[in-house]
Structures are given as structure tokens and as C-alpha cells.
């Protein structure tokens, strides 16, 4: 077992036990035991084959514990030094104008909720985990207990559960349109490198609608780690439009694990953009619990230097008549490494299912690497499933064409990369937002579009 896992194990054993409902205390202990017994993910864990822990081990973060006094959500609109106007958040990436005025803005700094602001909408409840556990205990318990924490492959969900103390609960009553929420994450390395754990619950009732925009961007680049577990419950016909933009520093480690439970006719639309980070992994798993549900996973990663981004998507067609799509575009320069693992499982009886997977990648540097693995596991016959994966380069003829018309080589390459990523941004509904993301993508590709 790695030195880091041992260090975490000792830290967990000597930590003051958090106080909570009895079932939760017991679960924390179980998770702690799991992590201590199995350690960090290893290369032999099939799901971690392409994502080594080197960057995390080099960062060597200590587990951050947050004393109980900070458990409570700040009063709405209340700000602290670290809050809404605090210096730890950089300028908002998305100006309010682009977001159709976000109805809520919520900030999590170093794994602690530090503020929220927004208009009151009836039927929309935003709570801290402590408050949420008082109000929706059985509902949250169901989700918390459903998380797999066994074995080294689940080390990060185990760590998150073992330290479960900080979180955010968003609950939307039936038939309510909750508008747009902006969830901003930032990290500091002020107390030395730490790993912060946080839990999010998005509980959308029947016929609800929410646009959630997550933004991971720290103003402080001294390096830290964030380990987030997200539970999404979509009632029948609910729609969650979930956009995630990650533009962290190269010293940052981000592990996210999102589990989506979809009822009949619900729609989950995910779009993830990874333009930064040192070691980043997003695990997203959706389960269709009712017919007619749909999930789309769009993603683009544009990586430079030694960044490593791993997207693990899994769709469980447990009900008939559902459709899913995974659509990823990767651009890799420098010494970066990109990983795409898309799984689709169609269970026996899940007829009339449709699955599409696409992973296209541009490899632009001799030291960059891409590993892609679109998997299909199909046990029903009335289905349509297809996947495609490609790895290639920029089209030399296209570059020549542009250069012959007076464009510089770097500019020509930039245009081609931008066009390649447009395949993803073009599919976003909010085109103003898509335009802003395209700009960010443009900024994220400095070195590999240089003249050579």
C-alpha cells in the first residue's frame, strides 16, 4: 500500500469522530476501514488502468477535516471574507448576462459552503448537509448508503464517506422550474496541500427543471485536492441541464463521482469541459429506472503540459425505451494524457433502447497520450447501439489551404482545433454560453498550436 494511503489511514483513525445520526457514524467507520484495508486505486483495477496516482502522491495532501461549527450553511446572502466577494474566487467565468441571471450562486471554498445568493423561488430549497440531514434524513440516507465504497477502486468514494461532514442539498418540489444555479468551487493551499471532501445532493421532483452550472477554478494556484460525490435524483419528466467547466491549475487534483437515478421520462443533459487541472477524473453513472428516460453526456478536454483528465461514463439501461448518448472530443498537447471510458449496459428486457458513443481525439504532441475505451454490454435484442472512436491529427491539407490564404500556421491550427471542439459546444442550448466556452478552449491551447 502506498505511503499516502497509510498516512490517510492513520489520519482517519486518530480523527475525532464526527457526530451525526448513528447509521451515518457507523457508515463512516466502515468506509474508513475499507480505505485503510485496500488503499488507493491501482493499475490492476480495470477502471483505473490508465489513471495512475502519481500526481496525487506527489502532491501528498493531508485529509482536511472541518469542525462541526462550520457545518451550518450561512444565512442566505451573508458573506464572509471567503464568501461571495472573497478574494479566493477569480472573476466569474460566466458573466451574469450570459446565464440569464443565475437564480442562485453557491460557493464552496476548500470544501466548505461559504455563501449563497439568489432570488427566492417557491419550492426550491437550498440547505447545508447538516440541515438537509435534519429535514430529509431518510431520502439522503438512501442515497448515501447506495454508494459503493468497497475495494481500492472505490477509494475516493470511501474517503468521501469516511469524512462525510460537508455538503449541499438542493431540493426542488414537483413541477417547479428552478431556473439556473451557479455552483462555484475553489481551493487554496493555505494550510499545505489538503484533500477536501464534499457531497452534493440534487433532488429534483416530478416535472421539475434545473440548469446547474459548475465551475471549478481557483484563484490560488498553490495546489490542493478536491473529492466530490454528487447524488442526482430525477423524478419523472424532470430535466437537469448540468454543465461543468473545469479550469483548475496544474497543481490541482479533482476527483468527482456523480450518480444519477432517472425516473420515467426524465432527461439528464451533461456537458463537461476540462481545460485544466493536474489530475482530474469524472465518474458519471446514470441508471434508467423508468422507461422513456434519456441521458446525454457531452464532453471536451483540451489539455496541455502534464495534465491528466479521465472521463468515466456509465449508462445502465435498466428499463426499456430509453436512449443515451456519449459524445466526447479530446485535444492533447504537451505531455498530457486523456482517458475516455464510456460504458453502456443494456439489461435483459430493456428493448427499444438506443445507445450512441463517440470519442474522437486529436493527438498534437509526441509526448501526449490518449486511451479510449467505448464499451457496450448488451443483453436485449431490440436495440440499436453503435460506437465510434478515432485518434488522429490535424488535417495537413486543411492547414496548407489556410496557409496558402495567408494565415499563419499557429492560427490555422487554432482554427482547426476550435472547429473540432465546436462539435461539442454547438450542441449547447445556450449559445452565448457556448461562445464563452469556445473562447476558454481557445485560451487553453497555447503551446501545441505554435509554429514549429
Amino acid at each position: 500500500m502506498s505511503a499516502l494511503a497509510q498516512q490517510w489511514g492513520e489520519s482517519l483513525r486518530s480523527a475525532t469522530p464526527a457526530q451525526g445520526p448513528r447509521w451515518l457514524d457507523e457508515l463512516r467507520l466502515r468506509a474508513s476501514d475499507q480505505l485503510t484495508a485496500h488503499g488507493l486505486p491501482q493499475r490492476k483495477d480495470e477502471d483505473w488502468k490508465y489513471t495512475p496516482m502519481r500526481v496525487l502522491e506527489k502532491l501528498n495532501p493531508a485529509i482536511a477535516y472541518h469542525p462541526g461549527s462550520e457545518n451550518h450553511f450561512l444565512e442566505k446572502g451573508q458573506t464572509t471574507e471567503r464568501g461571495l466577494n472573497g478574494k479566493w474566487f477569480s472573476d466569474p467565468i460566466f458573466p451574469a448576462a450570459l446565464l440569464d441571471k443565475p437564480d442562485y450562486e453557491i460557493r464552496v471554498y476548500d470544501g466548505v459552503l461559504v455563501g449563497h445568493e439568489g432570488s427566492d423561488r417557491p419550492g426550491v430549497t437550498v440547505l447545508s448537509l447538516t440541515e438537509g440531514l435534519q429535514r430529509y434524513e431518510s431520502l439522503l440516507r438512501k442515497h448515501i448508503e447506495s454508494v459503493d465504497i468497497s475495494g481500492s477502486a472505490q477509494a475516493f468514494t470511501a474517503l468521501n464517506t469516511a469524512t462525510l461532514n460537508q455538503g449541499l442539498v438542493i431540493h426542488i418540489d414537483q413541477q417547479v422550474d428552478a431556473g439556473t444555479m451557479l455552483l462555484r468551487w475553489a481551493l487554496s493551499g493555505k494550510a499545505g496541500p489538503s484533500i477536501h471532501n464534499f457531497r452534493v445532493f440534487l433532488l429534483l421532483g416530478e416535472g421539475t427543471r434545473l440548469q446547474l452550472i459548475e465551475q471549478f477554478e481557483s484563484a490560488d494556484h498553490s495546489g490542493s485536492a478536491l473529492n466530490v460525490v454528487v447524488h442526482v435524483e430525477l423524478g419523472s419528466n424532470a430535466v437537469l441541464d448540468h454543465l461543468r467547466l473545469q479550469n483548475e491549475s496544474e497543481n490541482t487534483v479533482l476527483m468527482s463521482s456523480t450518480r444519477i437515478d432517472q425516473a420515467q421520462g426524465s432527461r439528464y443533459l451533461y456537458a463537461g469541459f476540462d481545460l485544466g487541472g493536474g489530475l482530474v477524473r469524472h465518474e458519471l453513472k446514470t441508471v434508467f429506472g423508468g422507461s422513456g428516460a434519456h441521458a446525454t453526456f457531452l464532453g471536451a478536454f483540451v489539455l496541455d503540459n502534464a495534465r491528466h483528465v479521465d472521463n468515466h461514463i456509465s449508462v445502465d439501461h435498466a428499463s426499456p425505451g430509453c436512449s443515451s448518448e456519449q459524445f466526447f472530443r479530446g485535444v492533447l498537447g504537451g505531455r498530457s494524457r486523456g482517458v475516455f471510458n464510456g460504458k453502456a449496459l443494456i439489461r435483459p428486457g430493456a428493448d427499444e433502447s438506443s445507445v450512441r458513443q463517440s470519442s474522437a481525439n486529436l493527438l498534437l504532441s509526441p509526448l501526449a497520450q490518449i486511451d479510449t475505451k467505448p464499451e457496450l454490454e448488451i443483453y436485449a435484442d431490440e436495440v440499436e447501439a453503435r460506437h465510434g472512436a478515432t485518434v488522429g491529427q490535424l488535417d495537413e491539407a486543411a492547414i496548407f489551404y489556410m496557409r496558402s490564404r495567408g494565415l499563419g500556421e499557429a492560427e490555422a491550427k487554432r482554427l482547426l482545433v476550435a472547429a473540432f471542439c465546436r462539435a461539442v459546444t454547438d450542441r449547447l442550448e445556450n449559445q452565448a454560453l457556448a461562445g464563452r466556452i469556445s473562447q476558454l478552449i481557445d485560451q487553453a491551447m497555447p503551446s501545441f498550436t505554435q509554429e514549429n
Partner: protein, 504 residues
Amino acid sequence: MHGELKEVYKPMSSEPTQVDSTSANPSSVDHFVQQQYRYGFVTDIESETVPPGLDEDVIRWISARKEEPQWLLDWRLEAYHHWLKMSPPDWAHLKIKPIDFQAISYFSAPKSDKDRPKSLDEVDPKLLETYEKLGVPLHERARLAGVVAVDVVFDSVSLGTTFREELKKAGVIFCSFSEAVHDYPDLVKQYLGTVVPSRDNFFAALNSAVFSDGSFVFIPKGVRCPMELSTYFRINAADTGQFERTLIIAEERSHVSYLEGCTAPMRDQNQLHAAVVELVAMDDANIKYSTVQNWYPGDENGVGGIYNFVTKRGDCRGDRSRISWTQVETGSAITWKYPSCILRGDSSVGEFYSVALTNNYQQADTGTKMIHIGRNTRSKIIAKGISAGHGQNAYRGLVRITKNAENARNYTQCDSMLIGKNCGAHTFPYIEVSNPSAKVEHEATTSRIGEDQLFYCLQRGISEEDAVSMIVDGFCKQVFRELPMEFAVEAKALLEVSLEGAVG
């Protein structure tokens, strides 16, 4: 030491290719689904078999019996000691009951082996009869204008080799592995285990320890093998694992096409088959390796059938060398097989064409690995999976472009067809690219057999059976056309026999 004589011949319930073309009524074709394995019988020949179990003594016994040199015994023992430390792979998409490796007998040879026939004419007529039952009459094949030379592997010992003289004239060595060990020890020693090391994986290590026999082919520089080489394998004695080892070496500018086909008798106990095939292609050499695998698949309830764990790997050592694998996998209860190419030489080419069919309770986890190391290397993968009944069919493939493999190119297409409600089709492609000049394309589709196509055929008076067979044939065409002609015919027939009645 002598195996018991058993007679478990089961008559066929019907002529399998007979189709009721006047009716597409599903019930009228039920008997096709339930039809018995066509090739189920055991030939009544005394066998010499070691008692079940594996230890050092068994390996020493096998080696001594085959009068092997010390170095080969040492090699076997080293593999055995390593095997003891290994555990069976569990990553494949297969449900396998644990195999008791001590319950298997590791050597079986027809008794008449001591008096080895000099030519096919001297082969025990009962053996020849066996091949007649298999539908592969040797004399007919031999008559095919001397095109095919057949090295017959009956259980574990090679019996006779046809056309050896003619091959000898061309300088081609085609003989059983045991003979090669005696006659060409330097060649065997030079190449054995250089493509699939004895420690490569659990089953390759087991094979290295106990391999019984197999084929050895050597094509010298600049020689185009004058005929297609062919080996028919056949598992015969009950409870006897077969551990063939095949080694094919193609020197500079040589060409060879090798055919491997197999059927096995009906038996209720699972039998283990763990073969190793090693191919070496030097500069500008070309090896084409074709397989039709029709081991006993178990009955319609999933009882019995062969466990087929095969390690096949080709090493394109030379520049501009080419290795092409073509396989039609219709048999075995379990198939675990990934014929691979290591594209070491610059501008070398690897190809993999596969049709895998699973019906009833068959399970297959098969695919390929293309490891691009040299510059300008190219690979192509065409895999077609057909699942029917409760069959589970998985494609598992790796395409790896290493750092120095400039301008590597891969194209992969894997399509799966589902016939029926209870079967499964799975695709697990691994694509690992570390060189920016690589072009890799992978596409896969999974769908049920086209209802519109079926409807179109039925509407024009074609029976459902014929329609399915036509559609499946079209689905597999890309692979079939890579097979040598007579193999393609056999493969097509096999697929029809295995599938008829699956729709309805």
C-alpha cells in the same frame, strides 16, 4: 495406462442442412434449434493415457516418452514452476466454473503411435473413417490437385503428413512438433517461446509445461509455399486436455498460408483445450493463418462442451512483413482467444478477420491485439459477432500505438448481431495511442437481425431459414472472403448448421 473404450455415438436427429423451404412457420424449424451436434462420436481406438493430475513426474513422463532433449524438459519444468504461482485469468466476460486442473489427464496418444505410419495409406483405417465422419475426407482433399497437405493431429500425436516430399523439394519443413524437436532442434530452440514466452499467461504457461504435439512449419528465404498447409485437430479420448503447440517461421520474402480446423466428439464432461500458436515473420514474409473452430459447444442446456483457452500471437519481426489471422469460431462452450500481432518491423502489417458465433449457452470472449512498434505499421480488424439462444459473445480488442510507431494506422470495425431475447453481445475495445502521427479508427454497431431484410426475403418466397442464412452470410462476407476457398465453403455451412432455427 490404456484408456477405456467407450462408445457414446449419438445418431443425428435429422439431416441438418435440410430446409423446409415451403414454410416460414417458426415451429417447423424448431428441430433445427434442438439438433444434435453433428460431429458427436468417439472413435474406437485404444489410447495411451496418463492418469489425471499434474506434477513434475507427469511432465518428465511426457518429455521422456517423446524422447525430448534435456533443454526442452528444463524449459517445460520452468514453465510448470511458474504456472504453479499463477492463477487463471478472471477479467474476461465469461462465467466459468472453476477448473480442477488435477482432474485432467495431460497426455493421450493413439496406441498405434509406436508403429508410426509412413504415409496416409498406412494410417489406421479407423482414423481415416473418423475424418470421413467429420466430413473432411482426406483423400478427397488430397485429390484436390495436390493443393493441400494435411498434418493430422489425432489427440496428441501427429499421425501422418501428406505431401511432405513435395514440400521438401521446395525446402519447406512441415512436420509435427515432436519430429521437429528431433530433426531440427536448433530451429526449435531458436524460436520456441520467443513470441509467446512460457510465462506469458496462465494457459500459455500450462501449455508450455505439458504441450503434447502440434505443427512445425519453416519456410526458408524467398520460398512461396507451393500449397496451403492444413492441420485438422481432433480431441478424442475422454477427459484428455489437448495442448497443441504450433510454431511457424517464415524467413525473408517467404509466403505461407496455414489452415487449422477442428471438430470434437460429443461428451458430457468439459474438456480443456489450451493451445499456443507462435508465428514469426521476417523481412517481407507473409503468413496467413486461418482457423475454423468447431469444437463441441455443449448441448442445448449448456451441458458439456470444450473449454478453449488459446494464446495465438504473431511477431512481425521483419520490415514489410505481414501476418493475417482469419478465424471462424462456431464451437466450444467457452472461447478465450485473442490472436495478436506484434508489429515490430517497419511497414509491417497485421490483420484480423473474425466471425464468432454463440448459440445455446456458448460463451465467447475473443478479439485481437495489435501492438504497433515499428514505423509505418498498419493493422486492420474486422470482427463479426453473432449471438443466438442464450449465447454471450464479447469482442475484446487492443490497439496500442507506442511512442516510436510513426505513421501507424489502424482501422477496426466490429459488428454484432443479436438473434433472440436471451443472448448478449458485448464490445470492449481498448485504444491506447502514444504517437501523434497515428491514425486510429474504431467503429462498432450492435443490432438485431434486420427485420426489414427478413421481411423482404420472406415476401419473395424465401424461407425464414434461408433468409437468416443469407443475411448472416452477407453480414460475415468481409471475413469469409479472406478464407481459402474450401474453408470458406465449410465455414458457411458450419454457420448455417449452428444457426438454423435460431429465429422464430
